[in-house]
């Protein structure tokens, strides 16, 4: 039985909980609580511990989907969550004041994990807040020495999240399929 997992991370309100529920085969377990302090300005409920979902695979195997809490005071959990992680899905909210800064914060925080695995980035809210364009994210990533997939996504849209996870898998192994 596989214990591998895909970790979803990103700032508060970026859509981690929704993305996991979009591709999970079981109703996701979420430890949401009423938000207080700064978080409340963006979202009335927020994830204080983590989200959990699962994708059932052939041969009774499973891939676990974990969402990190968006609040930075729970950073200590990130190391635990990334153990045995297959890769990282980073979700960003384009309507936040400085989403590129958010991205660099998460990229730096998960840097050792990303260097061992891979990351795929989904930017939400681009329909309501078209700026910054994705080029700006790519420029910042290039300066940081990364060139991951960056897609506009809607966390509720199965195809978008599926494509994001697929890009993560191909980033790990571009010739995936030859051995399948």
């Amino acid at each position: 039985m596989s214990d591998l997992k895909i970790v979803f991370t990103g700032p508060v309100g970026a859509g981690k909980t929704t993305a996991i529920s979009t591709i999970s085969d079981e109703a996701p377990v979420s430890t949401n609580e009423s938000a207080s302090d700064m978080t409340k300005k963006r979202k009335s409920n927020t994830t204080v511990a983590m989200d959990y979902g699962v994708m059932k695979l052939d041969g009774k195997e499973k891939i676990h989907l974990y969402g990190t809490p968006g609040q930075e005071r729970f950073n200590f959990m990130w190391d635990i969550l990334t153990t045995n992680g297959l890769g990282l899905v980073l979700l960003l909210d384009n309507s936040r004041s400085d989403p590129v800064k958010d991205m660099l914060f998460f990229i730096n925080s998960f840097k050792p994990f990303i260097e061992k695995t891979a990351v795929a980035i989904g930017v939400t809210q681009t329909d309501r807040s078209p700026s910054p364009r994705l080029d700006v994210y790519h420029e910042a990533l290039s300066e940081a020495g990364f060139s991951p997939a960056v897609f506009s996504v809607d966390a509720r849209n199965y195809r978008d999240i599926s494509m994001l996870v697929q890009s993560l898998l191909f980033s790990i192994s571009p010739d995936l399929g030859k051995t399948g």
Binding site: D160, L164, F170, S173
Partner: protein, 410 residues
């Protein structure tokens, strides 16, 4: 069968034979067919294979019109695997020709009806179908999907639409020089080139630009990253394949697009301007133009780079684009190696690369070091078989199909 006139063009026919055909079609075929000198408007093309340079003219023609129904006339018996290539042995028997034309006429009629059906389908319908399929695998308590999500969804190419973007060209041996003629195209002489140049001008001058080329007006608003035109996809698509020596006209619009001539004229005529995200528009027209080919002057012996992934969730998705992006962003690599390493048809790689060049995110690597070593995925980059197998299962779960499907034979 609907009595629609079918236009036929000819290749390598001398004047006398041409005139004979003309009379034959007008009289014996009872006006169901007519000859045209314009290949673009023809549905069928007849070629005298035995004429001087008949074979090379046919190759050149197929490269330009890969989907065209062609009737080959020759003394020597020939067989072709392609469904759109037909053969009639010379000396020509008129009964045989009439029979063949009737068959093709009916086929053409069926194709036209099918095409109308396809065009009736909106992106919403296409997405809705996939959404319904996805919902079967999903939990019932998911949030509802709004209509905005439907219009935002990436467009997965349906099988019948695929050839519009990636063509039908079979893999060729790139070491044979004459084969290269079939994989090159001239974007700068095409609609794509005019629009790309107009966009560059608009960005440079930070002003709206109206581009008039091939009789079509396109407005570019660089500030809002928008393109506007009144022309539908079905008109734009064939225009994207044409080449011209005529220069496009670029007009600077000082205020906003509403001040442009095209806008005023079209508004008066009651036509509606279609708004495009400029990247989506450029990506789409470059795929229509390339159709499995690469820009002329591309050095196939050199490695090419991809500076970053295209926004594939919102742009037309070329088959295997995710794998191609993943491989090409790892390091510069030869285009032929991309196809062979991923075991996919060259035309997918060529289309993808051409569109990326148009978007300014790909090109030939200038660094000598990139061309020194064989293109391969190093052993340390390959995952363990167990992990590879698991990732294959995840892919299958996400896409609903086995990952080997669609490879090479696609």
């Amino acid at each position: 069968m609907k009595s629609e006139l079918i236009r036929i063009s000819t290749l390598c026919l001398d004047l006398r034979t041409y005139n004979t055909f003309d009379i034959f079609l007008k009289t014996v075929c009872k006006k169901g067919y007519s000859l045209t000198e314009n290949h673009e408007e023809a549905k069928i093309t007849i070629i005298d294979f035995d004429a001087f340079e008949g074979e090379s003219k046919l190759l050149e023609f197929q490269n330009k019109f890969p989907q065209r129904t062609v009737i080959i006339l020759s003394i020597l018996e020939k067989t072709y695997k392609e469904k759109n290539i037909h053969f009639i042995k010379k000396p020509l028997k008129h009964e045989e020709l009439i029979k063949k034309l009737h068959e093709l006429g009916e086929e053409n009629h069926r194709e036209s009806e099918k095409q109308i059906e396809i065009e009736k389908r909106t992106p919403r319908n296409t997405y809705q179908a996939s959404l319904e399929a996805n919902q079967k695998n999903s939990s019932s308590d998911r949030p509802p999907v709004s209509s905005a999500d439907l219009t935002n969804a990436a467009i997965i190419l349906e099988h019948e639409e695929e050839h519009h973007f990636v063509g039908t060209q079979k893999d060729i041996d790139l070491s044979i020089t004459r084969n290269l003629l079939r994989v090159f195209y001239h974007p700068e002489k095409m609609f794509q080139g005019a629009i790309a140049h107009g966009y560059t001008l608009a960005k440079k001058n930070e002003t709206c630009v109206e581009i008039i080329t091939f009789g079509i007006g396109v407005l570019i608003d660089p500030k809002n990253y928008k393109a506007y035109t009144v022309v539908s996809d079905s008109v734009l698509r064939p225009i994207c394949l044409l080449e011209t020596e005529d220069k496009a006209v670029y007009k600077r619009i000082n205020s906003s697009i509403t001040g442009s001539e095209s806008y005023t004229r079209k508004s008066k005529a009651g036509a509606e301007l279609v708004e495009w995200d400029i990247d989506v528009f450029l990506w789409k027209i470059s795929l229509w133009s390339s159709r499995g080919r690469i820009p002329k002057q591309t050095d196939l012996k050199s490695a090419v780079y991809l500076s970053h992934w295209p926004n594939l969730s919102r742009w037309e998705l070329v088959p295997h684009a995710l794998q191609i992006s993943a491989l090409m962003t790892k390091k510069p690599i030869r285009l032929s190696s991309v196809a062979s390493q991923l075991d996919i048809p060259q035309r997918y790689v060529f289309s993808f690369y051409s569109a990326c060049v148009c978007m300014g995110i790909a090109g030939v690597s200038k660094r000598q070091a990139d061309n020194l070593f064989e293109d391969s995925i190093g052993e340390n980059e390959t995952e363990t078989p167990k992990k590879q197998s698991l990732m294959g299962k995840i892919l299958k779960r996400l896409t609903g199909k086995t990952i080997k499907s669609g490879r090479k034979q696609a």
